[in-house]
């Protein structure tokens, strides 16, 4: 992460002992101050002992730093039992000389104070414990119990001051826990003595939902997160969720993935969503949000991707049954291991727990697609801006991992459609809106793309229809009353079909008429041709008659010449010349 560079840099100026606790090292930029005492304070049940124990256990296991746990409240057996559920085996660590538990019991009833004393006994015990295993880490939990066992506070305070000095000189990284006081961080004002690092734990109940928070009150000589960080206690120990460790530095992908609805892909350049983008589908109740998400999941599984489906309203079985009714078999993907459901009621636990569960599931399942259906129901698990903050963290987390996130959000009736209750719309890359259109006594679903960053997308409203073969998007017709959907669209379609039939009939009729006209004209042409033929024949007859006449004339002339005894050949030639001249004259 981006913070690792920071922590190593700081590490040079102030040596730190990493706690190994998820998130805490990021918040503290590397861990607790090495060789110095750290005060952890908080009210009862906020996780002080647990955090201290985890610090020692992880120190022993991960960083090879043995530790001493000096408990003033619980004995070794109780302590071991308490953390066994978190997978920590203290007995084993004790056997391997990685851990030493010393239970200091100070009972007022057993003790009589008679004059001057000091706490050298405690020092000796601690020193002995540290030296016996070469401990680098020490926990004193909680040293304030001494105040209830011993009445001479003047001596106690002086001795505590000496103890903390002594711990520093000893060079051990120590955690001292303290109960939260009325106006002070600790009841006995331990913060006066431990001035290097103070961490405050808080366990608060808001609207009957508990959240644990951690804040670094001070950390001398080091940068640190100053916010209140939510933290969780679960079966793996403590996890702190560092909000600030997430930035806007994620890599983006140019790959496009199908939404599972071909027509919707077509509305987005024909290619679908960007891989790794965040998609929000908001809509009113019953608009088809879950169906659309299931459709997306189905197509992702078909591509062989892994999907994680967080359901906050329906059980996995119910979703699978319902999706079968629109022709989607999600069960096969669950069986193949491509799809994993995680269903929980939002009010089951606090937001942080939800977020952490998501983190852990995502880390272990490594999905390509994550669906949260619906994010709006998480409002029940927290207060407004907490939900937004949590979702920002979730969106950032998913983006940093390059996971395509598909969120659905329920828009309450009567609210502005373009407002998401959790106010995450600005984080979202592609926002689809599903709405119900009420017209002519029907309620129909319509879908449109409100925004889609980085791609040309259609501005058309499409009718969203759930069929037994899945989701279909239809062109919505525009009529005089606006968008036509449902039966209005069907009647419009029927009207158009009827119109087309009429046009086709007209064309056919025109064709017939044209044929007839052509026939008539062709007949006319034939008549004219016949006429022409007759005329040509007349002409030929005329010509042959003329020839006959001229032949007869020639014959007569020869006969006449013979009669007149003329020079036949010459006169014939002359006569012919004369005829030619005569002919030319015509």
């Amino acid at each position: 992460m981006a913070n690792s560079g920071l922590s190593s840099e700081v590490g040079k100026s102030l040596p730190k002992a990493p706690t190994g606790i998820q998130g805490l090292d990021e918040v503290t930029a590397g861990g607790l101050p090495r060789g110095r005492p750290t005060l952890i304070c908080g009210s009862a049940g906020c996780g002080k002992t647990l955090l201290s124990t985890e610090f020692l256990v992880r120190g022993a296991l991960q960083f090879n730093e043995p530790g001493v746990f000096m408990s003033f409240e619980e004995n070794a057996a109780e302590l071991t039992q308490n953390v066994r559920s978190l997978g920590f085996d203290l007995d084993d660590l004790v056997r391997r000389k990685k851990l030493r538990i010393d239970h200091v019991r100070v009972e007022r009833s057993e003790i009589q104070e008679t004059g001057e004393f000091d706490l050298e006994g405690l020092f000796i015990r601690l020193n002995h414990a540290i030296d016996s295993i070469g401990a680098k880490r020490v926990v004193l939990d909680t040293i304030e119990s001494l105040f209830s066992g011993l009445s001479n506070t003047a001596i106690l305070r002086a001795e505590l001051r000496r103890l903390f000095r002594w711990l520093k000189d000893k060079g051990v990284t120590a955690i001292i826990t303290g109960e939260r006081g009325e106006a002070t961080l600790t009841r006995q004002g331990l913060e006066e003595y431990v001035s290097d690092c103070v961490i405050l734990l808080d366990h608060r109940i808001n609207d009957q939902i508990s959240t644990r928070r951690l804040r670094i009150v001070k950390y001398r000589g080091s940068v640190h997160g100053t916010n209140e960080f939510p933290f969780l206690v679960d079966e793996k120990g403590i996890s702190v969720l560092p909000i600030t460790s997430l930035g806007l530095h994620h890599k983006v992908s140019n790959e496009r993935i199908s939404s599972g609805i071909p027509r919707l892909d077509a509305m987005m350049n024909g290619k679908g969503f960007y891989r790794g983008s965040s998609i929000l589908l908001s809509g009113t109740a019953g608009a088809g949000k879950t169906s659309a998400s299931a459709s997306f999941v189905d197509s992702a599984c078909k591509r062989g991707e892994r999907c994680l489906y967080f359901a906050f309203e329906e059980s996995p079985d119910q979703i699978m049954r319902n999706m079968r009714s629109i022709g989607m078999n999600l069960e096969q993907w669950v069986q193949k291991g491509n799809l994993q459901f995680h269903a929980s009621r939002p009010s089951l636990f606090g937001l942080e727990m939800h977020l952490l569960t998501m983190h852990q599931l995502i880390e272990s399942f490594r999905p390509g697609v994550v669906v949260v259906d619906p994010v709006s129901s998480l409002i029940a698990a927290g207060v407004g801006h907490d939900v937004t903050a949590m979702l920002i963290r979730l969106v950032d987390f998913l983006k940093a991992k390059g996971i395509t996130a598909f969120f659905t959000s329920l828009t309450e009736a009567g609210e502005a459609l373009e407002a998401t209750e959790v106010k995450i719309s600005s984080l979202i890359d592609t926002w689809l809106l599903l709405r119900n259109i009420e017209v002519s006594g029907e309620r129909n679903r319509a879908l449109y793309i409100l925004k889609s960053r980085g791609m040309a997308h259609s501005n058309q409203i499409r009718e969203f229809i759930l069929t037994k073969n899945g989701i279909e998007l239809m062109d919505a017709y525009l009529g005089p009353g606006g968008v036509l959907t449902g039966s209005a669209r069907l009647s419009q379609e029927a009207e158009e079909r009827a119109g087309e039939v009429a046009r086709r009939q007209e064309i056919a009729q025109r064709e017939v008429e044209l044929g007839r006209k052509r026939e008539a004209l062709e007949a006319q042409i034939k008549a004219l041709e016949a006429d022409l033929l007759v005329n040509e024949k007349d002409m030929e007859t005329l010509k042959s008659m003329e020839q006959t006449r001229r032949d007869a004339l020639d014959t007569n002339r020869t006969v006449m010449g013979r009669v007149r005894q003329a020079d036949t050949s010459r006169s014939t030639a002359r006569t012919k010349q004369h005829d030619t001249k005569k002919n030319n004259g015509f």
Partner: protein, 86 residues
């Protein structure tokens, strides 16, 4: 006690005086130096120095401090009550 600190020495002399006064010949004092045997501190749940542990009779009692307050030491050792009773 831990080493030969002034407080420890005072406590020892005070204890000796009290025992001689109230329990002549009926007591046994064991002096443990935690600097030499630090592991004993854990077993006896010793925190403060000096600590006087009364093992017998039961219940176990701890009297811390230099025992300069004789009255309180006697109460702590349950000697005040027993002396009143007899």
């Amino acid at each position: 006690m831990a080493g030969q600190s002034p407080k420890s020495l005072t406590a020892f002399s005070n204890l000796k005086r009290i025992c001689e006064t109230y329990l002549p010949g009926k007591y046994h004092i064991e002096v443990l130096d935690l600097l030499k045997n630090p592991q004993l501190a854990e077993g006896d749940q010793v925190v403060a120095i000096p600590t006087l542990v009364r093992r017998l009779p039961e219940p176990l009692r701890k009297i811390i401090g230099d025992l300069s307050n004789t009255e309180r030491t006697l109460v702590g050792l349950d000697l005040r009550m027993s002396s009143e009773r007899s």
